[in-house]
């Protein structure tokens, strides 16, 4: 009768189920050693740093005996490999230890911060990616025209403006001078979708989204302009396709490169921005990291860095799998 022809011209690649499954499995397995390596680096970096975390919390008058007891209590007296493996085996079951400063479990502190950062970066992703894609596509399609130059100038400005500086300027204009929007913190207790809550997002989201918007716009422009120069685009025109159909072909061809850039930006945003979260006193991972660094709160620092790096590992994995959905050539041995 009739061959099983994938999902046709608009859809994703017709997926050869077994092959895609194998690829996904392989890719997930590859992530395990990467994750272990990342955890080792997280652990070691903090131990290579000079200074002793116990000195930071113990009173200056503490006797050497007390210091030794504290060290033993936190396990700092054991050899590095032993410390690493005991930390790792605890981490795997979700025990990130206890914060030295607050005495509360690291996991709880982290969970709150991660949720807050995810909310903020979710907004920044939405704004930054939409603007970046829009500007980049317009520029790529009109390469060399005034529209392209305007979009590119905007993108370069976006990349060049330090986001904490932009944050401060926004605060001065919209919070201090005009009192239209709050300068700091999150909406306390207000329902999530209410203006009382969302208004807290406006300024930090703008400050955070400008750099990813610029970076994405530039790489979309480059990729789209490059794809449009390829010979198959001429074939599409020779087929008599409408500009919209040609656009779909161009975008699907550009997708893998764009996913890679967006994945990276997503990773950065998920990590929270120490500077922007500090400017807006946003209780996210960046803010937490900042606190942990200045108080030399080793368990908290290790846990936070580990979780943030794991975001990267997971996002990379997701990007790789998504790329294979768009481009059949990627899924190879």
């Amino acid at each position: 009768m009739h061959a099983p022809v994938g999902r046709g011209p608009t859809g994703l690649a017709p997926i050869n189920g077994a092959r895609m499954f194998n690829y996904a499995l392989r890719r997930i397995l590859y992530s395990v050693p990467i994750a272990v390596g990342v955890s080792l680096v997280c652990f070691l970096l903090l131990h290579i740093a000079p200074g002793d975390p116990i000195d930071a919390i113990a009173p200056e008058s503490a006797s050497p005996q007390l210091l030794a007891e504290l060290r033993a209590a936190y396990g700092f007296d054991r050899s590095l490999p032993v410390q690493y493996f005991s930390w790792l085996s605890n981490v795997i079951v979700g025990d990130f230890g206890t914060s030295i400063m607050t005495g509360r479990p690291v996991l709880g502190e982290l969970a709150n911060a991660v949720v807050n950062t995810l909310l903020l970066s979710g907004g920044a992703v939405l704004v930054g990616f939409v603007f970046g894609l829009l500007l980049g596509t317009i520029a790529g399609y009109t390469a060399g025209s005034p529209a392209d130059r305007a979009a590119t100038a905007f993108a370069v400005a976006g990349i060049s403006v330090p986001n904490y500086w932009l944050g401060l300027v926004l605060v001065v204009i919209f919070a201090v001078n005009q009192d239209w929007l709050p300068a700091m913190g999150m909406g306390q207790g207000a329902p999530f979708l209410s203006w009382a809550n969302l208004r807290h997002f406006v300024l930090p989201v703008i400050a955070l989204s400008v750099i990813p918007a610029g970076i994405i716009a530039r790489s979309v422009r480059g990729t789209v302009a490059e794809v449009r120069k390829q010979e198959f685009v001429q074939t599409l025109h020779a087929k008599g396709l409408s500009p919209f159909r040609v656009f779909i072909h161009v975008m699907k061809n550009s997708a893998p490169a764009l996913l890679a850039v967006m994945g990276l930006q997503l990773g950065y945003l998920m990590g929270g921005s120490i500077l922007v979260e500090t400017v807006f006193s946003w209780p996210g991972t960046g803010f937490l990291l900042n606190t942990a660094i200045f108080t030399r709160d080793l368990p908290l620092l290790q846990g936070t860095i580990l979780i943030l790096s794991m975001f990267f590992v997971v996002i990379n994995l997701v990007v790789d799998l998504a790329q294979a959905l768009f481009d059949p050539r990627i899924e190879r041995n």
Binding site: A3, G6, P14, T235, K239, R245
Partner: protein, 332 residues
């Protein structure tokens, strides 16, 4: 494989499918202004096969692409092109799209880069059918399957869901041909369709194209620099040099009685059967810089028969015989 004998040229009384009058194309931008086609006129009957022969840069590809107005944005075009009653150069963009791929379609030189790498062969063919004929996806996919069978792709069903990179060069070119034939065009344009292929595959593709052309009866324009290809498929030949037709006629007329010194040079510099040991001749010099064409005959600087009047004005198209002409002062 059954191959019908070469068709003879029949002077047809009916209106030709294609008429081109004084086509001129130049590429112009801030940095360059180069005339690439300098007054080309010809007509082509229904079902006829014309070969455009010439070196790279002689304007043959651009002349052919003009028939579907497929130009880079820097092209400045004048003249008249009529294909099947449509004024190609005057059509609105949307009317032009309705013609591209349906009335006139094109096979490109390099099937690897000319097919979209991230869509399956089947969906690329089906897309054309759906777009031009408003067919449902299912109908279009059925047609794609028929087409792949028509171009003799083995296990066509499996190839429908294959991507271009999963096929060999020959199969890819067959898929490209299937795509070009998807909406039963009246005019097929083939831009060096065998140049990028292995020698053995080249012959298969040529034979296939000739067979399909006979079977479907569409007019075909072949661009090639390969005389062997021209002899194999063409009813008529037009030899291009520096953006002009320097000689045109039936394949037998041009092969048996080449009248322009450039055509004669081309024939002498081609490997024939049974001439082993005979030294091949080359045409001295190199093609002219299109931006600074000499006045008069563009070939004069390389021509062994050059006379003073060659450089005065471009020679007019002189008749050699019935349907055979050459732009040379030595003719007529």
């Amino acid at each position: 494989m059954q191959i019908s004998p070469l068709k003879q040229t029949l002077p047809s009384a009916e209106t030709p499918l294609v008429t081109v009058e004084d086509l001129r194309v130049r590429f112009r931008s801030r940095d360059f202004n180069v005339p690439v086609v300098n007054g080309v006129s010809f007509s082509l009957g229904k079902g006829e096969v014309l070969c455009l022969l010439g070196e790279s840069g002689s304007g043959k590809s651009v002349t052919m692409r003009a028939l579907m107005r497929l130009f880079p944005s820097t092209a400045v075009v004048s003249g008249k092109i009529n294909v099947d009653g449509h004024d190609i150069l005057g059509l609105s963009r949307s009317k032009l799209r309705a013609i591209r791929g349906a009335v006139v379609s094109m096979i490109f030189q390099e099937p690897m880069t000319s097919l979209d790498p991230v869509f399956t062969i089947g969906s690329q063919i089906a897309e054309s059918v759906m777009f031009h004929e408003g067919a449902s996806r299912r109908q279009a996919e059925l047609r794609a399957l028929e087409l792949l069978e028509l171009v003799q792709v083995p296990s066509a069903k499996r190839r429908l869901i294959a991507y271009p990179h999963e096929l060999s060069g020959g199969l890819r070119q067959r898929a490209m041909i299937a795509l070009a034939l998807a909406c039963r065009p009246k005019l097929l344009l083939a831009d060096e369709p065998t140049t990028a292929l292995d020698a053995t595959v080249q012959i298969q593709i040529l034979l296939l194209l000739r067979e399909l052309q006979h079977e479907l009866g569409m007019a075909t324009i072949f661009v090639t620099h390969d005389l062997g290809v021209a002899c194999e498929v063409a009813d008529r030949v037009a030899v291009m040099y520096a953006g002009r037709f320097v000689e045109q006629g039936s394949i037998t007329q041009v092969m048996d009685n080449p009248s322009h010194p450039y055509t004669q040079g081309l024939l002498r510099s081609t490997v024939h059967e049974g001439v082993r040991g005979v030294r091949l001749e080359t045409i001295p010099g190199s093609p002219p810089d299109l931006a600074e064409l000499p006045a008069g005959c563009s070939f004069a600087p390389r021509c062994g028969f050059v006379r003073p009047d060659c450089t005065m004005a471009v020679p007019h198209d002189a008749t050699v015989g019935q349907g055979h002409s050459a732009r040379c002062v030595l003719v007529g």
